[in-house]
Symmetry: C2
Subunit: 426 residues, 2 copies
């Protein structure tokens, strides 16, 4: 089956899946759960093959770690499926209701988007999370995982497809893509695919955005900021910045630039340098920063750079508004935090910073679907449309309007025989 | 000021406007209301100039009618502004709230999209509706109206800009574009503009979609269907189809194709032909239709054609599922109606037809923001993302996540010192 046939089949299946009831979907999730346990030895063997090959190919340690699928990862995945079963069905929710006139009722009802193409990194657990999110949210999916995980992905895909289709989910609701040329082909299929979610490097996401007419949800850059306001608690500021920068440096919600109010810079910067030196973080700063601590020079380019590494750029700003303007100019609309004890400054910051996640007195590393309690996420979006921030089940829904009448015609209203009532019921 | 400068200014203004409070925005709308009354003679004079020039240029009658802005249109517009003032502010709504842990609270709050570029037909009232919708929803706007309305648009734009900025709305929140090259320029400004809403012909909307990286919301085709099910009330079916086809033929929610169940075709088609003959509707049909009524032949191309005229294609189908499949294959996802007395067939139709508006026993012409009670609409969307169907104030909103903590860091959760509670408050 080529990609176009797969996409056409997925579209057909998506129509049936869109109205599958909650019990059926949850039953299919349980069957997947059981099948993962029953076939775990197959999964582990395939994963060993992937790891051995990748070690031979010299894949770096952190990537080997992500590639590994062992008993511990399986447990996490199983508990994820359990919580997904317990989550409310996002499909068919009554979002609004208006009585347009006697016996003419308008309902706005949530429904799945349709067919989603998802391209993700070499993490086998991602395949399960993404496909079970698609299933629960009623969407058909075309999945492309990383090359390194190919053997593991094949087994996992077979488990998910067989278990769900045996449970009664429409045949062909899910497909596995294996090559880059499959992806190139998929990007052209805007007649069948409603949304592409690419996860991966900036360059990769930008490539997808530039090479498809299908809407893309995701984020290219993650240039996150912490701003230490003049009234910040100094210890809290040092802790939050350290966590935001160093708790996990290679992820999109790690902080890349620190802004410091000039009135607190002399107090906080030396303490911060001490804490970050212990974590081996390279610091670069503006001239005013360098008057206070002895670090390298930050250039204009630094404000635009997502290091994804043990490096932080620092700028001293004269006030809150300069911090907000810097973030709205150089940031990527991902996650930005103010550290302050002044409530009105915090509110102004959270209102005026134009980012998906705006934080007060907590680490930027919190912006994540699991931490937000979504059960799982398909990705984090910096789009200004549809879904923003971590995207879980709700972000995979759209809605339709259902209008139920009794022979009603517009001519009666155009000719003033009848007038609308527009009574908002919900 | 060139378009890039205008867009940059609009982006700057959009940040302030995004947090403007409801009273300020409503005050600005009142000032616009008053100014429209005070300067109505200027408006009417400019509109006369537009009409005289357009008459000389031989603009067709229906377009002259749309171009006209008189006392009657002004009254409609004024009452529209009044209802907009009374509508709830869509900005700052708490959409969801979760306590992640003690003293770590997540809020999902609605906020404006940002900067919207809207291109619309030569209808001066559209300029006022669109700009007041942008204002109330907290979005900055770049507006491009039809060339024929240029003099009227200039006055109306001046009124809206002066009145709102005098009332305290951020300077530069709204701009008027006047030429096609302005539009070409605007389509490139994805750094400043978040969304393009094009209204106009299919070709025009497709051109915009193909020539910009900015997300586009709207609809190209409006191929709407009525399906007469076997249990339909025959008189009701004739009335609904007649209204759906003829109440206003040149609009996107007029019906273009009629599907008829084979079991009712012999009863309903002759009566329908009689009714549509009176309205001078040209009918074309499939072979089975033509065995019953004497009309022209419909080709495959007819099922894909939006006539926007007094013409209807008719197909006899063997059952409900064939009707649904025909609509999902040839339709444009705009508005489709089933006429039936069978509730479960109606529900199946409304669930499985993948369109923005799915109707039961009422005319397709009802799919419209005013009729839905939205106060006004910026357009109708057949997108599967963000907003679908008629788009009013709510469709011009996105959301952001605000997370408020007290020094919380992710390391505490990663190291199992703390665990998330995830208590859903709203």
């Amino acid at each position: 089956m080529d990609i176009k046939e797969a996409a056409a089949l997925a579209r057909k299946a998506s129509i049936t899946l869109s109205s599958a009831d909650s019990d059926l979907k949850n039953h299919a999730l349980s069957m997947i759960y059981d099948s993962l346990i029953n076939r775990k030895d197959e999964i582990f063997r395939a994963n060993n093959d992937d790891i051995e090959r990748s070690l031979k190919e010299g894949l770096p340690d952190p990537l080997i770690k992500r590639l590994k699928f062992d008993e511990h990862k399986l447990e996490d995945i199983l508990s994820g499926i359990k919580s997904l079963i317990n989550l409310e069905d996002p499909v068919g929710k009554l979002l609004a209701q208006t009585e347009l006139d006697n016996g003419l009722d308008l309902y706005k009802v949530s429904c799945p988007i349709g067919v989603i193409g998802i391209i993700f990194e070499s993490r086998p657990d991602a395949l399960i999370q993404i496909s079970t999110l698609c299933l629960k949210s009623g969407n058909a999916g075309l999945l492309k995982g990383g090359r390194e995980a190919i053997a593991t992905n094949r087994i996992l895909f077979d488990i998910i497809k067989s278990a769900s289709e045996n449970a009664g989910i429409a045949n062909g609701w899910i497909h596995l893509l294996e090559t880059r040329s499959d992806v190139t082909e998929m990007l052209k299929l805007d007649d069948y695919i409603d949304l592409i979610i690419p996860r991966g490097s900036n360059e990769f996401v930008k490539y997808i955005m530039d090479n498809s007419n299908i809407p893309v949800m995701g984020h290219a850059d993650g240039i996150c900021h912490c701003y230490i306001d003049s009234s910040a608690d100094i210890n809290m500021a040092v802790n939050i910045v350290t966590d935001s920068k160093t708790q996990y440096v290679s992820v999109c919600n790690a902080t890349e630039t620190l802004l410091v109010n000039k009135d607190i810079a002399r107090d906080v910067l030396p303490k911060l340098k001490k804490a970050l030196d212990q974590k081996h973080v390279e610091l670069v700063g503006c001239d005013k920063t360098r008057e206070i601590i002895d670090i390298g020079t930050a250039s204009e380019q630094d404000w635009k750079t997502e290091y994804l590494d043990y490096k932080l750029s620092i700028k001293v700003v004269s006030d809150l508004m300069e911090a907000i303007e810097h973030i709205n100019t150089y940031g990527s609309g991902h996650t930005d935090c103010i550290i302050t004890s002044d409530k009105s400054n915090a509110e102004l910051f959270m209102n005026l910073v134009d980012s998906a996640n705006v934080f007060w007195n907590c680490s930027t590393r919190f912006s994540d679907g699991f931490r937000y309690g979504f059960g799982a996420e398909v990705g984090i979006s910096t789009n200004k449309l549809h879904a923003r921030g971590p995207v879980g089940l709700d972000g995979l829904q759209i809605y339709k309007y259902k209008l139920i009448g009794h022979g009603d015609v517009v001519a009666d209203y155009a000719n003033n025989i009848k007038t609308f009532k527009h009574i908002k019921v919900k």
